[in-house]
């Protein structure tokens, strides 16, 4: 039995500490997926919180022979899809919980985000803005499949379970998504313009061919 399933067995007996370990382990991948699905980090955190609450609430329904991450990502995706459908029905009614201060600037609801040096942040934005933009242009299923495949390194079988489709269809989604990304990002991929402009530049690591 894998360590996550062992922890879930403890959770089923009401062990909250075991669940806290799982939350710590999976909060980042779940929030990564949700942020790229709903395109709003604050909303993504709210949805991630709901995901974990649902997972705890329905821990008794979890089959310990199944993979916890697959089950968790399925819950997260379903919640995100519900939110996207809700947005489509009520475009003006956003769950966005940003608060405007007196001067009109937007401050996040949760102030204690991970912070990094502003310069680093700018460089990172330069590097990955285009990729994020291109990803956001993909259909939801292609985007989710690519994120789970490339970022979270899930297998085709696991992604197929999360998306509720066949392994063949999953491979096709990833292939088509990558083709679209290559098409959109071709100028940047060829020139290496997305590599840091202000730092040591190594856009084309040594290749053998």
């Amino acid at each position: 039995m894998d360590p996550d399933s062992t922890l879930m067995l403890r959770v089923k007996k009401g062990d909250r500490e075991a669940f806290a370990i799982l939350v710590d382990k999976y909060k980042q991948p779940v929030i990564n997926l949700l942020t790229r699905m709903v395109k709003d980090p604050v909303e993504a955190e709210d949805l991630a919180q709901s995901t974990f609450i649902q997972a705890f609430k329905y821990a008794n329904k979890f089959n310990v022979t199944a993979k916890f991450s697959t089950w968790l990502f399925t819950i997260a995706r379903n919640l995100a899809l519900n939110e996207l459908r809700r947005r489509a029905r009520h475009p003006a009614d956003s769950m966005d919980s940003k608060i405007e201060d007196e001067e009109g600037s937007i401050i996040a609801q949760y102030e204690d985000k991970k912070t990094e040096h502003p310069t680093t942040s700018i460089i990172r934005n330069e590097l990955y803005e285009k990729v994020e933009e291109a990803l956001s242009q993909l259909p939801e299923a292609q985007r989710t499949a690519i994120i789970l495949f490339q970022q979270e390194e899930l297998s085709y079988e696991e992604i197929a379970k999360i998306l509720g489709c066949s392994v063949g269809a999953t491979k096709s989604l990833i292939h088509r998504g990558r083709e679209t990304l290559k098409h959109i990002l071709k100028p940047y991929l060829q020139t290496g313009e997305w590599e840091p402009k202000h730092g040591s530049k190594n856009p084309n690591p040594k290749r053998n061919f």
């Binding site: 929030i31 980090p41 991630a48 609450i53 991970k114 990955y128 290559k182 290749r207």
Partner: protein, 177 residues
């Protein structure tokens, strides 16, 4: 010579992991023979690298604590069935059961009071009947009241009339006879 399908397999393998020396050599050979695939392969590798290196989304440092607090707040919903029943009994014992006990005590008190009242009423009637029997004795020997009269105690109780009233004329007539 490597086939197109093998080239495709290696390309897809490179999406997931770094190719080993043998796989890389095969790919190099293929590209040497089919330079038209070079650009696409370079794009593939660059895309894979960029996707893998995408920065993590921001996460609040207190995220886990917030989740666990929310779970604690929703605890009754997350209990197992035996725990849920125990919790339900506990909640009932705190809310409905005291009210139910008070209602039962009140009903018992009313019942006892009614029972006491009925007993007292019966005793009072019995007392009056004894008095009547004493008055009705003729020459201290016989009585017009027999045990049969007392069998219909409740009927007697329901008879309207002033029990304290004594029919003197009737008594006199009985005595003279």
């Amino acid at each position: 010579m490597m086939s197109n399908s093998e080239h495709k397999r290696l390309k897809e393998l490179a999406w997931k992991k770094a190719l080993d020396a043998e796989e890389q050599a095969k790919l190099n050979e293929f590209i040497a023979q089919h330079p038209e695939y070079r650009e696409d392969l370079e794009l593939e590798l660059a895309l894979t690298r960029s996707l893998k290196n995408l920065p993590d989304a921001p996460v609040s440092s207190n995220f886990t604590a917030r989740v666990m607090n929310s779970i604690a707040a929703e605890e009754p919903l997350s209990l197992s069935i035996p725990d849920y029943i125990t919790n339900l009994v506990f909640q009932l014992s705190r809310t409905i059961l005291p009210k139910l006990a008070a209602a039962l005590a009140l009903i018992l008190l009313i019942g006892l009071s009614y029972f006491s009242y009925k007993e007292a009423q019966k005793a009072r009637i019995a007392e009056k009947l004894v008095d009547l029997d004493r008055i009705a004795m003729i020459d201290g020997k016989s009585s017009i009241l027999t045990v049969d009269v007392f069998k219909d105690f409740d009927v007697i109780q329901k008879i309207k009339g002033d029990a304290s009233y004594v029919d003197v004329e009737l008594l006199t007539a009985l005595k003279t006879n």
